[in-house]
């Protein structure tokens, strides 16, 4: 394989602790190596430019059934945003819900190389894998959802952690999944009857269990298995005024549980898109930021990581396994609503949404997301996301960088709000003058998420031995720049290497890379009871047979299996 | 004497089975080269069951065998199983939706005792070559 030497760039790498110093980065045989290991590398002159590891997205909705509903039911999202094929690039379409090809190319342009699909309905695992297969360049994995799964509800009702763990291991293997995802625990099952679980103690109809029991039990089962990632939760009560208390109650469920993982993570809970969960007030009229309370908790509890879910002020498409929330949303904005409940497992909904700077609530949401990041004491535990496409499309990450790195850019946005004064009153952001630097950005977008995923042995840094995922941006951090220059430079990587293959050269996509699908194969002790339960449920309640459930290797042409041994 | 009826088309199990067994086979014609009429309409037409009839709309004409409605009564409504016979007469107007108006075509039905019901391949071939009466 080719050798590359990226010379003289300003390097930002939390793994090596380099904070913008000039350094040379060497790539050989797909990995980062010591510069001395190269014999005749292709030289990339990065002088005056920024060099970082490939970006890692811990939470985005980029592949699978609800994403495709979003594409297919929004032809207007593609109007006048088409891009013809060019060179090796195939044709691309879609703004808020891009086609798989555009997804791969646009992440690559931002210097991202690993993207996790945040919610895979197990019964639709094949679909998710088909889309990931057709997403070029990126390494991907998908999180099957567990928080409303009938097996889990029945086992955890009696706190049967070992059975839950055995079932998780089985389902991860059957679906070729990566981690344990929980969305509105219990609430989506309640939505099967048009109901919801509004807080962590609100019992799930019929199943006689509370969201708190589900979340805590799944954390314990996750640690019983020692999976690479922690339990990854989207709590109850998303998007409602006053919901920050539910969020804090959910956080607290992680207390007292220690990580048990050989994969280097320190957290037992990842709470996603916390912006949507940090609202005070009791109505849309008096909704306010509670980011300070939320971050006070996060900053003082190190077994927890979070991501932002930053609102980007775009017209977008919301989609989540939180079925009741999407119904609530369509009743608010009257736009088209898709819902897809999945037997024994989960549900989902999709509704377009316009985050307008002229609407007070949207502007407050924008503030809250930024506050979370700017109040973070440890950027290794607070990650940049938009919960793509829920709070905005992922292509806005460079714009979020601009807002995080420049108080001036935030002021410009405040000035553009119609209800600026009311927004300032309801939030803390105007009083925060912190400006993040690129090192902190690299923590939030590279090293932090990689560590949280249990993948710091592969991604997130530039230390020898890690994957050869390296991005070069046409940005000189040592010279004065306008805020917009950040967005421009980080939207359009000059060079990108993915597993040692040059994917972007001089801002042009030159390779479709060698995408891999990551999944976790967990070895557990034989558990006849769980296997009996699985057989029975398939016989009686599922509409596919057990033998037609497991995703075959055929769907993962280039798998990367992470082996976990939980037999001890 | 011709009668006017409202024609709809659709699937039948016989249409499905014979289609999978081969559209070139006589069973397909038996299943789909028919029009299901209500007894009341048979009376209006003055014809016996299982008589060949000519069905004509603004869009075309086809000879099929008239049989008694299997899922009736539905006076004034006639049914030809989906297939090339029905498609000789259905309203192709899509109203700019892509979808022809397969259901709800006003047609005239008249007795055509001595005219043959063609097989599917022959019907389509002759139609394309302009060889149909």
């Amino acid at each position: 394989m080719a050798e590359f030497l990226i010379k003289n760039g300003f390097v930002f790498d939390p793994v090596l602790g380099i904070k913008g110093d000039k350094a040379d980065i060497a790539i050989k045989d797909g990995k980062i190596v010591e510069t001395t290991a190269l014999s005749s590398p292709k030289i990339i002159d990065a002088s005056g430019k920024t060099v970082m590891a490939g970006g890692v997205d811990v939470h985005a909705h980029v592949a699978g059934p609800k994403v495709n509903i979003g594409r297919n039911f929004r032809p207007e999202d593609k109007l006048f945003t088409y891009k013809p094929g060019h060179g090796i690039e195939r044709m691309q379409g879609g703004f808020s819900v891009p086609t798989t090809l555009r997804t791969g190319y646009n992440y690559a342009r931002m210097g991202y190389t690993t993207v996790m699909e945040a919610a895979m309905p197990p019964l639709y695992a094949r679909h998710t894998h088909e889309e990931m297969r057709d997403t070029p360049i990126l390494d991907q994995g998908a999180y099957p959802v567990f928080g409303n799964n009938w097996f889990v509800l029945e086992y955890l009702k009696n706190h049967e952690i070992e059975n839950t763990a055995a079932y998780i291991a089985w389902l991860l293997r059957a679906t070729k999944g990566y981690a344990v995802k929980v969305v509105n625990p219990g609430g989506t099952e309640a939505w099967g009857w048009g109901l919801n679980c509004d807080n962590v103690h609100d019992p799930v109809p019929y199943f006689d269990i509370t969201p708190a029991q589900i979340v805590k039990g799944l954390i314990e089962a996750n640690e019983y298995l020692g999976l690479p990632h922690s339990m990854h939760v989207h709590a109850n009560n998303l998007g409602n005024p006053g919901n920050y208390t539910t969020t804090l109650d959910t956080f607290k469920l992680s207390e007292g549980i220690k990580p048990n993982s050989k994969f280097g993570r320190d957290q037992v809970m990842h709470h996603t898109h916390v912006q949507f969960h940090s609202y005070g007030g009791d109505s849309w009229a008096n909704v306010e930021s509670r980011a300070k309370d939320i971050m006070a908790y996060v900053n003082s509890h190190d077994n927890l990581t979070i991501d932002m879910g930053q609102v980007t002020l775009d017209e977008t498409t919301t989609m989540t396994a939180d079925g009741p929330f999407e119904h609530h949303l369509t009743e608010l904005n009257h736009l088209k609503w898709a819902n897809a409940d999945v037997e024994l497992e989960t549900g989902s909904g999709v509704v377009p949404y316009v985050y307008s700077p002229n609407i007070k609530v949207c502007a407050i949401q924008w503030c809250i997301g930024l506050e979370l990041a700017l109040l973070a004491k440890d950027p290794m535990r607070v990650f940049m996301t938009t919960d793509h496409p829920n709070a905005g499309p992922f292509i806005r990450y460079p714009r979020i960088m601009k807002w995080l790195m420049s108080e001036e850019a935030r002021k410009q946005q405040f000035d553009a709000f119609k209800h600026k004064d009311k927004v300032i009153e309801a939030t803390n952001l105007a009083g925060i003058d912190r400006e993040l630097d690129l090192y902190e950005i690299a923590q939030m977008t590279r090293a932090g998420p990689a560590k949280s995923l249990g993948l710091s042995h592969m991604y997130g840094g530039l230390a020898p031995g890690l994957e050869g995922d390296v991005a070069v941006f046409d940005f000189n951090p040592n010279e004065p720049y306008a805020p917009d220059a950040i967005e421009t430079a980080f939207s359009n990587a000059e060079c990108l290497f993915k597993a040692g293959v040059q994917v972007i050269d001089d801002h042009e996509i030159v390779s479709n890379g060698n995408k891999r699908t990551l999944w976790v194969n967990t070895k557990v002790n034989e558990n006849p009871q769980v296997m009996r339960d699985v057989k029975e449920k398939f016989l009686r309640y599922y509409t596919v047979t057990l033998n037609n459930y497991e995703v075959s290797g055929h769907y993962l042409p280039n798998p990367y299996v992470i082996e976990v041994d939980a037999t001890q | 004497m011709a009668i006017s009826v409202n024609l709809i088309t659709g699937r039948t199990i016989q249409q499905g089975v014979s289609m999978e067994a081969g559209k070139e086979k006589p069973a397909y014609t038996t299943a789909c080269g028919i029009i299901e009429l209500d007894p009341v309409d048979f009376k209006r037409l003055g014809a016996y069951r299982n008589t060949h009839v000519r069905v004509t709309s603004d869009y075309g004409s086809v000879v099929v065998k008239a049989v008694e409605a299997t899922q009736g009564p539905h006076p004034g409504v006639a049914y030809i199983p989906m297939g090339p016979w029905a498609n000789m007469v259905v309203n192709p107007n899509t109203y700019s939706t892509g979808m022809p108006t397969f259901k709800g075509t006003p047609v005239q039905v008249e007795v055509a005792k001595n005219e043959p019901v063609l097989g599917s391949l022959e019907l389509v071939r002759k139609g394309c070559r302009g060889e149909l009466a």
Partner: protein
């Protein structure tokens, strides 16, 4: 000796039953028996064994007769036809697997084709409605386990989806529906007293073509507003009664079919039915589902969705994907003389398009890829027989509720026959050569 293959997926309709058992000879050459399938599904498996099956490509001669040609010649003809055309129509894609659909999409992209599937004459108008108003839906297992109000509107599963009622909708005993049929109220809306209507609790024999009005009347009734005395031939008392029945259920499901998608109003009928479903969610839980026809028409819409962003009628001619039914749909393209070549795979427009469109196919350069001899193969210039997907080759298919299932190969195709995917892969390679890419 024989062996039995279990958990076989039926490649006929969108019900995509996956519990068939097929007995084959030990050498995988002969398919002998089919169990658990409906009459249509069984026939599909058994027909693959027909002795008179066409196993080699053929080309129509000047005198109207067929001449056998090699697969290579068929590939050459197809690739040249597509590469030469300014705007070819590549139609069908519903009776094949997603793997073939994916390769076909790449061909379409390379030649600037319009890609359309059988939804165009089936549930295309449903897809338009979904784009306008959305669709609250669910998997079929949700229906089995929860639904106590089953409404079939303009569909007749007894004939079109024969095992639907026993597997999913009327009869099964699910988790919350332990009494099966007895735990459910079944309503059928159809202008004919169909065989499905005969097992319903209520049949509304609607005046044909007045679905939009009746659906609107239900919405008026939900809100307790006044109705005219009779709507669509149904007395208002009956409409109020049915509205109450739906509202009083714990979980209502509406299944709909060609009765609404193909009658006047088309997408608007579905739009109104979805609006009814939305309304019901203010009182109880409700979902709605199209009774998709071909076993993998849903899959082609999914594949094009993630590759192009649209579920059917995708115009790639300008190098990017555009969509507008009425313009980019097969029957409009053919009627308006807007395409200059026709490629058909996995469908039979010759039998299922209005004849005026069939005549246009006959007048154009055309290729049909189909295991069967059909009215389409009869009017095309070249017919390429292929292996039966789901019988002689596996691959992914999507059920009517979008659940993907991997179909199984149960028996070998006749010696030397290509699969859809193989044929298309060769055509793609040749197209790329011709285009110099």
């Amino acid at each position: 000796m024989t062996k039995t293959v279990t958990d076989v997926i039926c490649p006929f309709c969108g019900t995509l039953c996956d519990d068939l058992e097929v007995v084959v000879s030990d050498d995988n050459k002969q398919l002998l028996e089919v169990y658990n399938a409906c009459a249509i599904g069984a026939e599909k498996f058994l027909h693959s064994q027909a002795k008179d099956r066409i196993t080699r490509p053929r080309m129509r001669q000047e005198d109207g007769s067929w001449k056998e040609i090699s697969y290579d010649e068929a590939i050459e003809y197809t690739a040249k036809m597509l590469a030469d055309a300014k705007k070819p129509l590549m139609y069908g894609w519903s009776s094949t697997n997603c793997e073939a659909q994916s390769v076909g999409s790449e061909i379409g992209e390379a030649v600037g084709a319009v890609m359309d599937n059988t939804a165009t004459v089936c549930h295309g108008t449903s897809l338009i409605a979904v784009q306008d108003i959305g669709i609250p839906s669910c998997t079929l297992g949700e229906v089995k386990n929860r639904a106590d109000r089953i409404l079939f509107w303009g569909c007749n599963p007894a004939h079109a989806h024969p095992r639907h009622m026993s597997r999913y909708s009327i009869f099964p005993r699910g988790f919350f529906t332990g009494k099966g049929h007895a735990s459910r109220k079944v309503i059928v809306v159809d202008p004919r007293p169909t065989d499905t209507a005969s097992i319903a609790d209520v049949h509304l024999q609607i005046e044909q073509g007045r679905d939009y009005e009746l659906l609107d009347a239900l919405r008026v009734a939900f809100k307790g507003e006044k109705l005219p005395d009779v709507v669509a031939g149904i007395p208002k008392a009956k409409i109020y009664e049915v509205a109450e029945t739906l509202k009083s259920g714990r979980f209502a499901i509406i299944f709909f079919g060609m009765g609404v998608t193909q009658s006047i109003g088309k997408n608007h009928n579905i739009d109104a039915a979805i609006a009814v479903t939305r309304d019901l969610n203010e009182y109880t839980k409700a979902a709605i589902m199209p009774m998709r026809g071909h076993y993998n028409v849903t899959g082609s819409g999914q594949v094009w969705g993630w590759l192009f962003g649209f579920p059917y009628a995708v115009d790639l001619s300008r190098g990017f994907a555009r969509y507008n039914p009425g313009e980019t749909t097969s029957n409009d393209l053919l009627r308006r003389d807007e395409v200059d070549a026709v490629f058909v795979l996995g469908s039979d427009p010759g039998a299922h398009f209005p004849f005026s469109s069939v005549k246009k196919i006959y007048d154009l350069p055309s290729v049909a890829i189909d295991p069967h001899e059909t009215p389409t193969t009869e009017v095309c210039k070249v017919h390429v027989p292929v292996a039966f997907v789901g019988v002689e080759i596996g691959g992914c298919a999507y059920r009517m509720d979008n659940v993907p299932i991997e179909t199984r190969k149960v028996v070998d195709a006749p010696e030397g026959m290509m699969t859809d995917e193989e044929f298309l892969t060769h055509v793609l390679a040749r197209v790329k050569e011709l285009k110099g890419v």
